[in-house]
């Protein structure tokens, strides 16, 4: 065999494969610089360079080579990087395309791939039987956390996690189409073509870099007079040219969700040497299709026999891809071990390329058709009804021992440098199964095939068990036309796809073998390579009572590795069934779960990172407040001004100053985040009667009222001031965090419980900017700007609302107060918020008023004993608990929560009630959330009778103040209670909740 390094590796065969010899690519593997060709995968390039040892297994650290040439790869997993941050563990060498500068390294080994100390596990493997860890490491008790687990954790895992933040970005698209075709092999392309030419909108995707599927290796099929692969490329190009078609390569359909919603992930730059910074690394497509055509093909299974895992042993189809597509010979002396006809074609292709085939070990009585004769004519020795009893070779297979089927003994040694294996093909029903379709066992061909559909989809080609290419094209075209037809496109005839199939004897992919061959107890016959699950492990699991296939899977971890059992599941099932003495379909199949192949977190996240993770909501006044030095806090999604420190001021000093200034002069506050809902309609008042505990009929237009809303269970849900603008129009305010919930709650009741009411609900939170002006000078500040509203006390008393103008723009002006001072809340259309604010602030500042933030607002309202829902209440507080029973209409026949409120426990006199607390030491500020006890000397567990809900330093009271809920609190006035802190116990006195201006004179002061 001749080769030369300039063509990308010594095992590259001149004239073979589809890559261009002149286009070389330099990459490194474990520090060695190597040359491959553009279009190579890591696996093909390494084999071209004579390297078969590519990884170590999970548990026993056995040396492993590549098993497959595709996404099903269990063994050849590597760490791949472009630079230190663009790093990825567990990359399948059979999928990763090489590019100039790519660095790959082996993983899960120490110190090196060829010499890994972890391999002692292999020697100890008799101890490490399936599930052994459930039976030991229990003594002494504390050793699990301190000793065993840390050791096990270090030994487990595969590659290293990334350690730096991901510098790449990801994109997301939503798409709708008539037909989504998954898989771009002969079946998928034919279906897409038929659907597209009928005018349907089509998306076709395939996980590989080019369309073609099995045509990558199957050179026996010609289509319309050219090679199958060329036809596939031309067809893909033709499709891509059509306006109604989107062709996506390197795109995996990974999840099939409800209502024909399919997730696709497109790998955009991972194969490029120099991606443009504008390109996303990957793109998530969320596709909603009228019809899904599944043309996902089939996956070849390995033979399960002792020593089947040495580097150089691979699937027959993989060897054929390496040869026919990449032009790489996997060895010079390649034996074959098969139970399926398709492996013969691989052998013949290899032989035609100059590779010696020392033997074909055939597990069956004979292969199909004339294959036996053909092989012998070619001079290949075929041993029918034979098995491989063992293999040799530490880092690469060097010989196999062949015995007659069922015989024991050492057998005949045959020297090889590679071995190709095939036990048959498993239809890829993963997505079909994810769609909740039911698979059915086809006894004749020994495989699970798509059975009853659960969604609007159709399976075609190899994944549906159709092996013959002529029948397959027929089925595919039919599916394409039908899909287009179903989507309302008119037919325009069928595309011409003429198949010429030579060597059809070897073309049968059905039949084969599931389960292990050879004596049950001999050697390590791997079922799941990555997780090191052997046939013995599966038999042991069954013996130990694991009779459900799900138990077998979990106990042995078969099929739970990064390949999710694509090659191993059927074998595992068959071995379990055999051990149980039950037919396969009775043992059942484990559930196929999304994703089909692993999906990058970043792809799923897309742009939802940093500021776009959850876009911050800012009020119309945000920029003004920022200019004036506001420090912001997060309240739900909002950014709210917290306090306004002046140069050198601490938060404490700033808040104290703000609180003082509001009471002495006035302050401006941004109240725009409060939820606002407009409730309109002839039945608006009747609706509010049902939603709030209060009665609304008597509220005159132009007046407002504080309202409480309960949940069905009688506990406070939200509160706020509601203004009546007209007989049929209310301006409802809610808490900042409650706005969306409350609207939802209202809609819910309106649509389900009170549909007879004639009411419309509209969220107007973002339509109005709200500037609160509070303090003795509030009226003076706003007076010059107000137009058309008489704001004198007589004309506009506390708790009223007027519509008019301020600064020349429309306003809904509320006279109300959350500070206990004379106050106004000025609603102006959001776009005018800033200019109105600036005008007001200019005057206010000149009058020595201040800006105040949420912290001062909290203190000021606490001085007055006003509650904040969500802080002083927590979903277990009734209006009476909060001292608000006056707000519950006694005579109303119904409102949400009325029945809940009447429950016995909600009427108990010793419920936790809202009270004030004063620390004996006035300078001590309690911690919010601190617990309260009556007996400070009780031992733990102590009897907690309440907790501190709000607590502040009050500049205006000259001492600390607090609110708390305390069991039977209102009957404990004057009592001393205790707040036990880690370092000391604080004495407190129970008081009422109003600490400042008990008479409420300042509202009009």
């Amino acid at each position: 065999m001749s080769g030369n390094a300039y063509q990308g590796g010594a095992n590259r065969l001149p004239g073979k494969g589809r890559l261009t010899p002149a286009k070389t690519v330099r990459f490194s593997f474990d520090g060695r610089i190597l040359t491959g060709l553009e279009g190579d995968t890591l696996a093909s390039a390494l084999i071209a360079n004579g390297i078969h040892l590519m990884g170590r297994s999970f548990k026993y650290h056995r040396p492993r080579g590549v098993l497959s040439a595709g996404a099903e790869e269990p063994n050849a997993l590597m760490q791949v990087s472009r630079d230190s941050a663009r790093y990825q563990p567990n990359v399948r060498a059979s999928v990763q395309e090489i590019f100039d500068g790519l660095r790959a390294s082996s993983q899960n080994r120490y110190p090196s791939l060829a010499c890994d100390v972890g391999a002692v596990n292999d020697a100890l493997s008799p101890l490490f039987s399936a599930g052994f860890y459930y039976k030991t490491f229990m003594w002494p008790r504390t050793a699990w956390n301190k000793l065993y687990e840390p050791v096990i954790r270090r030994a487990a895992g595969l590659g290293e996690s990334p350690k730096e933040a991901d510098p790449d970005h990801y994109a997301q698209r939503y798409a709708h189409c008539d037909v989504l075709v998954v898989g771009g092999g002969l079946a998928g392309l034919s279906a897409a073509l038929a659907a597209a030419e009928s005018g349907a909108s089509v998306i076709i995707c395939d996980e590989q870099p080019e369309m073609g599927g099995a045509l990558h290796f199957d050179t026996s099929i010609a289509v319309n007079g050219e090679t199958g692969f060329d036809w596939a490329q031309k067809t893909a190009a033709r499709l891509a040219f059509m306006d109604n078609v989107r062709v996506l390569t390197r795109t995996t359909a990974f999840g099939y969700y409800a209502q024909n919603f399919v997730g696709l992930t497109e790998r955009v730059t991972d194969h490029l040497a120099l991606p443009s910074p504008d390109q996303p690394r990957e793109r998530l497509w969320q596709v909603r299709a009228k019809r899904v055509v599944l043309a996902t093909g089939a996956i070849e299974r390995h033979m399960v026999f002792p020593g089947n895992d040495r580097p150089g042993i691979m699937l027959a189809s993989a060897a054929r891809i390496f040869l026919n597509h990449y032009g790489v010979a996997i060895g010079a002396k390649v034996a074959v071990y098969t139970a399926c006809d398709s492996a013969y074609e691989a052998a013949f292709d290899l032989q035609d390329a100059g590779v010696r085939i020392p033997v074909i070990v055939e597990a069956r009585d004979r292969p199909g058709g004339t294959l036996l004769e053909e092989a012998r004519t070619r001079g290949i020795e075929v041993l029918t009804r034979h098995a491989i009893a063992s293999t040799k070779g530490r880092l690469r297979v060097s010989s196999i021992a062949v015995v007659p089927a069922g015989a024991s003994g050492k057998g005949r040694d045959i020297e090889v440098d590679a071995l190709i294996i095939s036990a048959g093909w498993t239809p890829s029903v993963h997505l079909f199964s994810q769609s909740r379709g039911k698979v059915a066992w086809d006894a004749e061909s020994g495989r699970f095939l798509p059975g009853v559909n659960a969604q609007d989809c159709v399976s075609i080609g190899a994944c549906a068990g159709t092996d013959d290419p002529v029948a397959l094209v027929e089925q595919a075209v039919e599916a394409g036309l039908d899909a287009a037809n179903g989507a309302g496109s008119e037919m325009s005839g069928r595309p011409v796809i003429d198949i010429d199939h030579e060597g059809s004897d070897a073309g049968s992919w059905s039949a084969g073998l599931v389960g292990a061959v050879g004596a049950p107890e001999s050697g390590k016959a791997f079922v799941d390579f990555q997780n090191d699950v052997t046939a013995k492990d599966i038999r042991l699991a069954v013996r130990e009572g694991m009779h459900s296939i799900e138990h077998v899977k979990r106990f042995t971890t078969n099929g739970m590795a990064t390949d999710q059992g694509k090659t191993s599941n059927m074998h595992g099932l068959a071995i379990a069934a055999e051990t149980l003495g039950k037919p396969i379909p009775q043992v059942g199949l484990t559930t196929f779960r999304a994703p089909y192949t692993p999906v990058t977190f970043g792809t799923i996240v897309g742009q939802s990172r940093g500021v776009l993770f959850d876009p911050a909501r800012k009020t119309p006044l945000h920029a003004c407040l920022e200019t004036n030095g506001a420090v912001f806090e997060d309240v739900g999604q909002w950014k709210r001004a917290w306090y306004f420190p002046r140069a050198g001021e601490t938060m404490h000093a700033a808040v104290s100053r703000e609180c003082r200034t509001v009471r002495e002069v006035a302050g401006l506050f941004d109240a725009s985040t409060l939820g606002k809902i407009e409730v309109v309609g002839p039945d608006a008042a009747a609706f509010l009667n049902l939603l709030y505990t209060n009665a609304w009929d008597k509220l005159e237009p132009g007046r407002c009222k504080y309202g409480i809303m309960l949940r069905e269970d009688g506990f406070i849900y939200d509160d706020g001031v509601v203004g009546r603008l007209a007989a049929d129009r209310f301006h409802v305010t809610t808490t900042t965090g409650g706005a969306p919930r409350v609207l939802h709650h209202m809609e819910d009741y309106l649509q389900t419980e009170f549909p007879h009411l004639d009411v419309w609900l509209t969220s107007i939170t973002e339509q109005w900017a709200v500037i609160a002006v509070q303090g003795p000078q509030a009226r003076d500040i706003i007076a010059p700007f107000v137009d058309g509203i008489d704001i004198s006390d007589d004309a506009m008393p506390h708790m009223s609302v007027r519509e008019g103008k301020i600064c020349g723009v429309p306003t809904r002006l509320f006279r109300m107060s959350f500070t206990g001072e004379r106050g106004f809340e000025i609603n102006v259309p959001a776009d005018y918020g800033q200019s109105v604010f600036e005008a007001l602030w200019e005057r206010a500042e000149a009058m020595d008023a201040c800006l105040y933030g949420t912290e001062a607002m909290h203190v000021l309202r606490a001085e007055k004993g006003y509650i904040i829902v969500g802080q002083d209440t927590d979903g277990t507080v009734t209006p009476d608990d909060a001292g608000l029973s006056w707000a519950v209409a006694k005579k109303k026949p119904d409102f949400v929560g009325i029945a809940g409120l009447k429950r016995a426990d909600l009427q108990r006199p010793d419920r936790k009630q809202l009270v004030g607390l004063k620390t004996k030491d006035p300078t001590l500020v309690l911690e919010e959330g601190a617990q309260i006890v009556a007996d400070p000397n009780e031992k733990i567990p102590m009897t907690m009778i309440g907790h501190v809900t709000s607590s502040y330093w009050s500049e205006n009271c000259g001492r600390s103040i607090a609110m708390a809920v305390v069991a039977g609190g209102r009957s404990r006035m004057g009592e001393t209670l205790y707040v036990p802190m880690p370092d000391r116990t604080i004495e407190v006195e129970v008081t009422d909740t109003v600490f400042f201006d008990k008479q409420g004179e300042r509202l009009n002061g």
Partner: protein
Amino acid sequence: MRKYSIFAIAREAMRGHKGWDRQWSSPEPRSSYDVVIVGAGGHGLGTAYYLAKEHGIKNIAVIEKGWLGGGNTGRNTTIIRSNYLYDESAGLYNHALNLWENLSQELNYNVMYSARGVMMLQHNVHDVQSAKRHIHANRLNGIDNEWLEPDAAKAFCPPLNISSSARYPVMGAALQRRGGVARHDAVAWGYARAAADMGVHIIQNCEVTGIRRGANGDVTGVDTARGFIGAKKVGVVAAGHTSVLMDMAGIRMPLESFPLQALVSEPVKPIFPCVVMSNTVHAYISQSDKGELVIGAGTDQYTSYSQTGGLHIIQHTLDAICEMFPIFSRMKMLRSWGGIVDVTPDRSPILAKTPVKGLYVNCGWGTGGFKATPGSAHVFAHTIANDAPHKINEGFTLERFRTGRLIDEAAAAAVAH
């Protein structure tokens, strides 16, 4: 029952592991039992175990429609903690935590309870207040839970992003060091093996289709896929399907069932030393012994019995994970799945007698009942054996929704103001 130990393994290793017993058998059902437990999840199997072990009742069947441990027990993210707010919950979950610490030895089955610490992140002033309230209450109840400032949180969990420019910066965390994770399958299997060893029948692939009551209204047994099975007492422990079962006995349950999803990443070498939860950004995460990142999502918005939830829920969760741990953006999701969780109005379980004599119910664990498994099973066994609750589960009645005496842990986490 052959004792499991390193010596037993060594002995078996020498003879090809031929001598292991079945961990549990698959017996033919008897015509009647003293107690029938419906649902072979951790709670159901555990109940059978404690009934046999501590109450001398041996004539017990656990009836399961699928495979044992295949419900939420085998689907959850296995977070264990006991730092709940209210005395009732703290009592129950801490009882469980105490049992977790010895469970491997008790069952002679390594359930891999790993006290690696559960850290709950707090992202705003309101979160901090609520966390402190829990910490203070826990301290006075004798339950460990401590406050960590952001730097200390980062030291405890190095991959954590504590940058103040994060969308929701970490303002601190509550840490329960005794909290952690355990191996879910092992819990179901360990209880099953130990219960079967005491003669409990575990009957799999046998759906209960009816609960029969006699003329006087008392329970007489259950109809199943394998015929009628008589029972003096029936305990329903069926998680997401409890309402369906209780309806068979004419009892309407205050439960809603939602899909809840979880996912794992590909395995990697140790990178994540503890459990981290964030209620504000909605995600929780730990790393399994195998090396997979185990990530839990929120429930779907709508009630459903479908075990597949929407992709958007997973999306929302991974958004949060990558926001808190930007190094994980290039990690890959390997497998995702869902379970059906049964949610009560106050987010606390029901562990109680019912108005029907002889019928008991253990449900309502919602998104967080794995942690309670041993404690719940233990007191539920007591409740069935004595026809009266254990002191620890006295408050977890069905009547509380009628009287209003709720144990509202959800409310305690409350709403933003």
